[in-house]
C-alpha cells in the first residue's frame, strides 16, 4: 500500500483528500490527513463577526464532518518532516511514513513578530480579526467603543485575503454611520505598499472607494515597532491611534522552517504551475502554505486543487501532468450597505472591469459595487460548507476567462 499524507485540514487540505479519494484506488492508496484542530473555521466569515453581521457559531463546524469516508483523520500537531526518509514526526511522538506528502498547513498571524505589538494594549486598544478569538474580542470592543481614531494597518506582505483590511474599513464606515457616530470616528488605512492594492487598475477603483467613504490612506508605511497609542515606521514616521485593528505578520507553520522546507516566512517554495516542492519531487504544498506569487485566498486554494487533483493522479501513474495553474483568484469585496464588488485575476492578468458570468447565478459586476455581489458573498458560505469542502464541482472554471472583461486599448 502507498500512502498519501496531507498535513492540514483547512480549505486546501480538506479539498485535496476529498477530491483524490474517489480517484485513487482504495486497494492501492491510503489517504491520511493530519490536523491538531478538531474545528474547521470558515475564515471568510471572521470579517463579519466584529460588526455582528455573523455570529461566531456561523463559522465553526467539526473538521471530521467534511472528510470523506476512506480518509484517515489524525488529530495531532506536526513536529518535523524528514523529506530524505519520507517520514513525518507528530507532536505526540508518533511517526508516519509517506509516499507522497502534501503540505497544506496554511499561514497564520504572528503578532509576536512585531516589536511592542503584544505589549502595547493587545486585545484592549489593539485588536485583530484574522483569528476567531480576535474577531469575537473586536466585536465586544466595537459594541461599547465611543469613537476616536481607528487605524487599520498591514504589517507585512503577503497576508491572507488581501482585500479584507479594505473591506473592514468599508464595513466600519457603514457600521458607525448606522450607529449615528460616524462623525466621532476617524478612519485611517495604513499599508506598507505604495498603493491600496498591488495591481494598478484595481488599486485605482479601490482607492476611489476609500476616498468616497472618508477613509484616509497612509502608504509606504512599514512598521518597525508599536508603542501604546502609536505605530512607528522604519523611516521614523508615526501614526497615532485610539483603536488599532492590525493585520499582523503572516508566517507558515514552524515545522516547515524546522524541516528546511520554507522561505524566510516559512512558506514552501513550489513550482507555481503545479505545486511541486522545488527541493523534493514527492513533496507538494497547496493553499496558503505555498509561496505562490498570487493571493493567499480560499479561491486560490479551490482553483489550485482543481488543477492539482487532475495532475496528481497522472503523476502517480508515471504520466506527465497535463494542467498548469495560472494563479487564478476571485475575491468578493464587501463595500458596506449590503453592496460588494468582485475582482478576478491571475499571474498574468490584473483585475479588470466588466462582468463575471456564472451560469444560473451571475453575472456579477467586476470592480463595481452592486447588491448581487454582496449576495454572492453571503451565499458563498453555504456553498463553502456544502459544495466546496466536500469536493463537489462548482460552476466556476479553474482558469481565468476573459469573457465579459473590458480591456483598455493597448492593454
Amino acid at each position: 500500500m502507498k500512502r498519501l499524507l496531507v498535513l492540514g485540514a483547512g480549505t486546501a487540505g480538506t479539498m485535496v483528500v476529498n477530491r483524490l479519494r474517489p480517484k485513487l484506488d482504495e486497494g492501492e492508496w491510503t489517504i491520511t490527513i493530519v490536523d491538531e484542530e478538531e474545528i474547521h473555521y470558515y475564515q471568510p466569515g471572521f470579517l463579519f463577526i466584529p460588526f455582528g453581521a455573523l455570529d461566531p457559531a456561523d463559522v465553526v463546524k467539526a473538521t471530521r464532518e467534511f472528510v470523506h469516508d476512506g480518509v484517515e483523520v489524525v488529530h495531532a500537531g506536526v513536529e518535523l518532516v524528514d523529506p530524505e526518509n519520507n517520514t513525518v514526526t507528530l507532536a505526540d511522538g508518533r511517526t508516519l511514513e509517506y509516499d507522497e506528502l502534501v503540505i497544506a498547513t496554511g499561514t497564520r498571524t504572528r503578532p509576536d513578530q512585531t516589536e511592542g505589538l503584544l505589549e502595547s494594549g493587545w486585545r484592549d486598544t489593539i485588536h485583530d480579526f484574522y483569528t476567531f478569538d480576535g474577531a469575537v474580542a473586536l466585536h465586544d470592543k466595537l459594541r461599547t467603543w465611543e469613537g476616536g481614531r481607528l487605524v487599520v494597518n498591514i504589517m507585512e506582505m503577503p497576508f491572507k485575503c488581501p482585500v479584507a483590511p479594505m473591506e473592514f474599513s468599508f464595513l466600519a464606515d457603514a457600521f458607525f454611520r448606522e450607529k449615528g457616530m460616524r462623525d466621532r470616528v476617524e478612519l485611517v488605512y495604513v499599508t506598507p505598499l505604495d498603493a491600496v492594492f498591488t495591481k494598478p487598475i484595481a488599486a485605482e477603483h479601490l482607492s476611489h472607494l476609500l476616498d468616497e467613504k472618508g477613509v484616509h490612506v497612509e502608504t509606504d508605511f512599514y512598521v518597525e515597532h508599536v508603542e501604546p497609542g502609536k505605530l512607528v515606521s522604519y523611516d521614523e514616521r508615526e501614526v497615532p491611534f485610539d483603536l488599532l485593528v492590525t493585520i499582523p505578520v503572516h508566517m507558515g507553520a514552524e515545522f516547515v522552517a524546522k524541516s528546511g522546507l520554507g522561505d524566510e516566512l516559512n512558506h514552501v517554495p513550489v513550482d507555481k504551475h503545479n505545486f511541486q516542492s522545488k527541493k523534493f519531487a514527492n513533496v507538494w504544498a497547496i493553499g496558503d502554505a505555498a509561496d505562490l506569487p498570487t493571493s493567499k485566498a480560499g479561491s486560490v486554494a479551490h482553483f489550485s486543487v482543481d488543477v492539482f487533483a487532475v495532475n496528481f493522479v497522472e503523476h502517480v501513474h508515471g504520466r506527465p501532468m497535463p494542467e498548469k495553474f495560472d494563479g487564478h483568484a476571485i475575491c468578493f469585496v464587501e463595500t458596506g450597505n449590503d453592496k460588494g464588488l468582485m475582482i478576478d485575476f491571475n499571474y498574468e492578468t490584473e483585475p479588470l472591469p466588466g462582468k463575471y458570468p456564472i451560469p444560473k447565478i451571475g453575472p456579477f459586476s467586476l470592480l463595481e459595487e452592486s447588491k448581487i455581489n454582496h449576495m454572492g458573498k453571503m451565499a458563498f458560505r453555504w456553498a463553502y460548507w456544502n459544495v466546496l469542502l466536500p469536493g463537489r464541482p462548482m460552476p466556476m472554471p479553474a482558469h481565468l476567462t476573459m469573457a465579459g472583461k473590458y480591456q483598455s486599448e493597448g492593454a
Partner: protein, 105 residues
C-alpha cells in the same frame, strides 16, 4: 517602454524607469542609476545588498522584498532605510537593475 543611454550602455526601461532586461545591467550602470535617485555614493553595504538582490533574482526569478533581503543579506531593515531612503524596496531593485518587487498581491 523606452531605450535610454546610461553609462554608455543602451538599456531598456519601463514607464517607471526600471530595467526590463536585467542582463543589460553592470556595476557602472548601477552607479548611474543610484545617482539618478539621489544616492551619490554606493558604499560596501549598498553593494552587499545589490549583489544579494542580483544573485537572489537569478535564483528565484522574482525580486526579493524587504524582509527577504534583510533576513538573507544580513543588512537589517533599519539599515536598508538608511541606504535607500524612504522607499528601499523599490530603490534597491531600481539600482540593481531588477523589476520592481511585486508585493505578492
Amino acid at each position: 517602454m523606452a531605450t535610454v543611454n546610461v553609462a554608455g550602455h543602451d538599456i531598456d526601461v519601463n514607464e517607471e524607469g526600471f530595467l526590463t532586461n536585467p542582463a543589460q545591467w553592470d556595476e557602472e550602470v548601477a552607479v548611474q542609476l543610484a545617482e539618478q535617485i539621489g544616492i551619490d555614493e554606493l558604499t560596501d553595504d549598498h553593494w552587499k545588498v545589490i549583489k544579494f538582490l542580483r544573485a537572489d533574482y537569478a535564483d528565484q526569478g522574482e525580486t526579493a522584498q524587504l524582509r527577504r533581503t534583510s533576513t538573507m543579506s544580513g543588512v537589517g531593515t533599519k539599515e536598508l532605510y538608511v541606504l535607500f531612503p524612504k522607499k528601499p524596496a523599490k530603490k534597491m531593485a531600481y539600482v540593481a537593475g531588477l523589476p520592481k518587487p511585486k508585493g505578492c498581491v
